[in-house]
């Protein structure tokens, strides 16, 4: 039975805390954005499935699903990595006030960081392979030591 032995002070009481709203203050400070994929709404799941989000579901009795299709970078045209000293100062024309007649200058948005699109399912598969490899390497190492000691 998953009970608290001594009920700790929970931030939320009751069996099912309400869905967080974007304006609700977070105990960690500024409101943290709620990712749509974290919502329990079935409608969100349907949208995610329709968008082709790779969320394979294991069917009972089905063979293990192979790893997903090749992963993609977050690739955008003319993407630039975030580098040290991103230039946020407005051009000289705007600093002198000549830009006021035009659309106000906005700081260039930071480009998305270099990343890789990988599902947790594939990540766990890689972890499994890495652990198996590690165990094999350790077994080989132990065999070498035992062979050497036995000489």
């Amino acid at each position: 039975m998953g009970l608290w032995s001594r009920p700790p002070r929970l931030g939320r009481a009751g069996p099912a805390p309400p869905l967080p709203r974007p304006s609700a203050p977070s105990p960690r400070g500024p409101a943290a954005p709620v990712p749509p994929s974290c919502s329990p709404c079935p409608a969100v799941l349907a949208l995610a499935a329709a968008a082709g989000h790779p969320t394979p579901r294991h069917r009972p009795g089905a063979p293990p699903a192979p790893p997903e299709l090749p992963v993609l970078y977050n690739h955008r045209p003319r993407r630039r990595l975030i580098s040290r000293g991103t230039d946020r100062t407005p051009p000289a024309a705007y600093r002198q006030g000549r830009g006021t007649a035009h659309r106000p200058w906005r700081a260039r948005r930071d480009e998305p960081p270099l990343s890789i699109d990988l599902t947790f399912h594939l990540l766990r598969h890689l972890l499994l392979l890495a652990r198996a490899q590690s165990q094999r390497a350790q077994a080989d190492s132990n065999r070498l030591i035992l062979d050497a000691v036995g000489r």
Binding site: P27, P35, C38, I82, I116, A130, A137, I145
Partner: protein, 322 residues
């Protein structure tokens, strides 16, 4: 030889050895009982050391959890590659560039990221990492001539690389260093036990388990270890400097995960929670005024089992992708 005289001889020998600074040698001899490697001859030790360096080639998408020397050679243009590194919670990852043959000006790159980043979400989050996001990428093309080694701040790291020309590639050596007070950790396994200690440090630490788990907290100490009575806040964790929170979500970044529970009072016992999320994070927020410690166990839950709704379960807030 009379035993008294024998004892005196031994005493004199020990005194002489100590005065020459050879007592360390005696300690090493003692350690030999636990370390069979020390009983081997120098030639044999050398042979074993050389043969024990693990080597293999890297794949475009790969994960490594052991030390060794790893080589990637492109047999065709490889434009989207990454290698994940993960160690034990108390280990740091050290990556040395042994050999790099890439065309930086031709669009190739080789970058080390301090942490893991998946779909734009970073672990540790920007709130919990000592470096700003831009400094967590170490680009070989920019700093390779200067920085031959890169060390991670936690037990995970990764590299991104792109190589256009077949035949080009690189070789790296991966080593592990010890981290006395692990702070941000990704668990290699879906089950385990860990004690997180934050000793008088103003920092936030996250322990991430990328599986749906049952997590059981057996010991939580927020405050001084000598048992001084702490003033308890009237309600909730709001305004409390130090607390532990459980987060659940489907991404890697703890700052974008859903808070499931807060714990802001010390207790000894068992507090268990089933979290059916793709990623479960236990995060400790520490003001630096106290020594905080939390011990917990976790094991993977089988989501195919019939669910008992009477349990303290919040899996309805996460729909895992398995």
């Amino acid at each position: 030889m009379p035993s008294a005289f024998q004892f005196q001889c031994h005493f004199i020998l020990i005194f002489l050895a100590a005065s020459k600074g050879e007592t360390r040698y005696l300690e090493v001899r003692d350690a030999g009982e636990d370390e069979p490697f020390l009983l081997l001859s120098e030639d044999l030790k050398r042979e074993l050391s050389a043969g024990q360096v693990y080597r293999r080639s890297l794949r475009c998408i790969d994960m490594l959890s052991i030390e060794g020397q790893f080589t990637f050679t492109a047999d065709q243009p490889q434009l989207h590659c990454a290698t994940f590194f993960i160690g034990e919670p108390e280990e740091l990852i050290m990556i040395d560039y042994d050999f790099v043959n890439i065309d930086c000006k031709g669009g190739d790159f080789l970058k080390v990221f301090d942490g893991w980043i998946l779909k734009g979400e970073k672990f540790p989050s920007s709130l919990d990492h000592p470096l700003p996001a831009s400094q967590r990428y170490i680009d070989f093309c920019e700093s390779g001539n200067i920085q031959k080694s890169v060390r991670s701040s936690q037990n995970v790291a990764m590299i991104f690389f792109r190589i256009h020309q077949p035949g080009n590639g690189f070789t790296i050596t991966v080593k592990k260093n010890t981290n006395l007070f692990p702070c941000n950790v990704i668990s290699q396994t879906p089950s385990g036990r860990f004690t997180m200690v934050i000793p008088h440090q103003h920092r936030n630490c996250s322990f991430s388990i990328i599986y749906p788990v049952v997590i059981k907290i057996s010991d939580l100490i927020l405050g001084h270890l000598n048992g001084l009575f702490l003033k308890k806040p009237s309600a909730g964790c709001a305004g409390v400097g130090d607390f532990v929170e459980l987060l659940g979500g489907t991404g890697l970044d703890p700052s974008k995960m859903f808070p499931l529970a807060d714990l802001c009072h010390s207790f000894h016992g068992s507090a268990q929670m089933k979290i059916g999320c793709d990623n479960t994070v236990l995060r400790m927020v520490s003001s630096g005024k106290h020594i905080n410690r939390v011990t917990f166990e976790y094991h993977q839950i089988d989501l195919q089992e019939p669910e008992n709704r009477k349990e303290n379960s919040i899996e309805e807030f996460c729909f895992p992708s398995i």
